[in-house]
C-alpha cells in the first residue's frame, strides 16, 4: 500500500498529469457549446429521412445527448492522454535517473511494476471520472436533462431519462477498463525504453493499427479482430441499447482483462531482468 500511495502521489504531483484533465474540459466544453447552439439544425439533418415516419415531441437537444456525444471522444483522444502518463511511469524515471533510487530500496521490482500499474489504472479512472463530470454535469448545466436519443446507424433508439444514470455509470466503469488496458500496454513499452516518447508513440501506434485491422472487412482481419483489445474498447456503447447483450459485454470484459494480465506479466518479467544503467 505504501508503494501505491507513493506512486499515486508522484503521478498527481506532476504537471504533465493534468494535461489530460484540461484537454477533456476543453473538448467537452467545445462539443457541448456547439450542441447547445447549433444542435437542433444538426439533429434535423440526421433525422431528415425519418421525418415522414416519426414524430418527435419534447426536447431532443438536452444534457443526456450532450453527455452521450462527449463520451464518443473516449476512443479518440483518451488513449493518448492515458499513454502520456502510463508510458512515462518507468521510462521517465529511467531517463531522469530516479529509477536507481527506487530499485536500490527494499521493495522488489515486481512490487514496483504492480504499484505503478495500479497508479496508472487509478489515473485512467480519474480521467474517465472527470470526463463523466464534464459530459454529464456540463450537459445538464447547459441544456438540462431529458430522454436520450441514441444516434445509431441501424436504428433509432430513445432511452428514457430515468433509465440513463446507471447506463452512464456502468459505461464509465467499462471505459476505465478499456483505458486501463491501454495503460498496461504503455507500461509494458515503458519498461523497455529509456525515455517516454517511444512508449507513448508505440502505444498509440498499436491502438491505431489494431483499430484499422478491426475496421477493415478482409476475412483474415475479421478472424483476428475478436481477439484484439481495441475491438472491445467501445464495449461501453452496448449499454445504450434498450436490451443489454450480457454475453457480449462479458466477453469484452474478459478480453480486456486478459490483455491487461498479459501486458503486466510481460512488464514484470522484463523489469525484473532489466539492467538499470542510466
Amino acid at each position: 500500500m505504501t508503494l501505491i500511495r507513493i506512486e499515486l502521489s508522484k503521478v498527481f504531483s506532476r504537471p504533465r498529469s493534468y494535461i489530460g484533465f484540461v484537454v477533456i474540459a476543453v473538448i467537452g466544453a467545445i462539443l457541448l457549446t456547439g450542441l447547445s447552439i447549433d444542435g437542433q439544425q444538426y439533429i434535423q439533418l440526421l433525422l431528415q429521412q425519418l421525418e415522414h415516419y416519426v414524430v418527435i415531441r419534447g426536447k431532443i437537444i438536452n444534457g443526456s445527448l450532450g453527455a452521450w456525444i462527449v463520451l464518443q471522444t473516449l476512443i479518440v483522444h483518451m488513449p493518448l492522454l492515458t499513454a502520456l502518463v502510463a508510458g512515462d511511469l518507468i521510462s521517465g524515471e529511467a531517463a531522469s535517473g530516479t529509477l536507481r533510487l527506487l530499485a536500490t530500496r527494499p521493495p522488489s521490482r515486481r512490487a514496483i511494476v504492480h504499484s505503478k500499474f495500479i497508479a496508472a489504472a487509478c489515473y485512467s479512472a480519474a480521467l474517465v471520472g472527470w470526463l463523466g463530470i464534464v459530459a454529464w454535469g456540463g450537459g445538464w448545466l447547459l441544456m438540462g436533462s431529458g430522454d436520450l436519443l441514441v444516434l445509431s446507424t441501424d436504428r433509432l433508439i430513445i432511452l428514457p431519462a430515468h433509465d440513463l444514470w446507471w447506463r452512464f455509470a456502468l459505461a464509465l466503469v467499462l471505459a476505465t477498463l478499456a483505458l486501463t488496458t491501454v495503460s498496461a500496454l504503455a507500461l509494458w513499452f515503458s519498461v523497455m525504453a529509456e525515455n517516454s516518447v517511444g512508449p507513448i508513440v508505440a502505444t498509440i501506434s498499436v491502438v491505431v493499427l489494431f483499430t484499422i485491422i478491426g475496421t477493415m472487412e478482409f476475412p483474415l482481419f475479421q478472424r483476428i479482430s475478436p481477439v484484439l483489445f481495441t475491438t472491445h474498447m467501445a464495449v461501453w456503447r452496448e449499454l445504450f441499447y434498450p436490451e443489454l447483450e450480457f454475453k457480449r459485454i462479458v466477453i469484452s470484459v474478459a478480453v480486456l482483462l486478459g490483455h491487461i494480465a498479459v501486458f503486466i506479466a510481460l512488464a514484470t518479467y522484463l523489469f525484473s531482468r532489466k539492467d538499470i544503467l542510466t
Partner: protein, 303 residues
Amino acid sequence: MEAIVSLQSVRKAFGRIVAVDELSFEVLRGDLFGFLGPNGSGKSTTLRLLTGLVRADAGRIFLFGSELSLHRQNLMRRIGCLIERPDFYGYLSGRRNLEILARLSGVDNTHARIREVLELVGLKGRENDLVKTYSHGMKQRLGIAQALLHRPELLILDEPTVGLDPQGLHDIRQLLRQLAQQGITILLSSHLLSEVEQIATRMAIIHQGKLLAQGSVAELLSARELVVKVETDAQALATLQQSRWQQSLIAANGMELQFQLSRQQIPELAAFLHQHQHPIYRITYQRPLEEYFLRLTGTNLSA
C-alpha cells in the same frame, strides 16, 4: 574481521564489452574502502552489481554473508547508496523526496530522521525548495542524505565528491570520516587519487574491469619510492654522478634531474646539493599513490 562485501569471480558484459572481468575483492567491517580506477574501468558497473541494479553474468556477490541474488530485499535494508549522479524528483521538494525514500525503506519516525540527515549534510533551510532549483553540490548532499536515511550498516558511494566546491569536498570528507568512526562501513569509488589517499583505510584498484591490487592503503604504499624532480644548476649532474646518488638518478633533462627515492632520502639529497654549493630552485615529487597507480595501470590521472 567479517567481510561485509565479497565479490567472487564476478563478470558482467554489455554486448561485446566486458565491463567487469572475474572480479574478486572483499570489504571488511569498519573499512573506509577506496575503490579506485580511471573512468570506464568498471567501477560504476561493480557498484551497480553490488546494489542489484544490474545482474552479474557469472560469479557470486555476498553482502553481510548472504548472497545478494537470493536475499536482495533484506540486504537493501542494510545498505545505503548513491550510484552515479544524485538524481531526484525535480518537481518535488528535497524534503518530499526524502519522505518518499524513507517510506520505501521503512524508516520509523520519518520526520525526525529527515531533520537529522538534513542537518548532517548541511541542507537545513533549503529542504522545502523544489529539487530542480538545487545546485549540483546540494543534490550531491541530498544524495548522501537519502543514503543515510535508514541508518545503513554499509554505505556505497559512487564518486560522491564530483562537482563539489572545495568547502563541499572538505565537508563531505569530514562527514565520511565521522560516519566511519560511528562504525558504518563505507565503500567509496573514486578516480581521485588524493581522495582515496586521504581518507581510505583499505583500497582496491581496478582497470579495464580487472582487479590490479587490493589491501590496506598503508601496506600498499609503504614500500613505494617516489619519483623526485630537482631543478638545480648545470654542474650538479657531474657532482651527483660521482656520488652514491648516481644509483638513484633515473633521468637528466638540462637542469632538471629525476631520482627514485624514499621519502626520507629527499632531505639528504637536498643537504648533499647544498653542501656542494649547487642551488636548489625547485623540488617536486609525485604522490605515492599516483606513482603506484600509474605503474599498475599505465594510466595517468589528474588528482
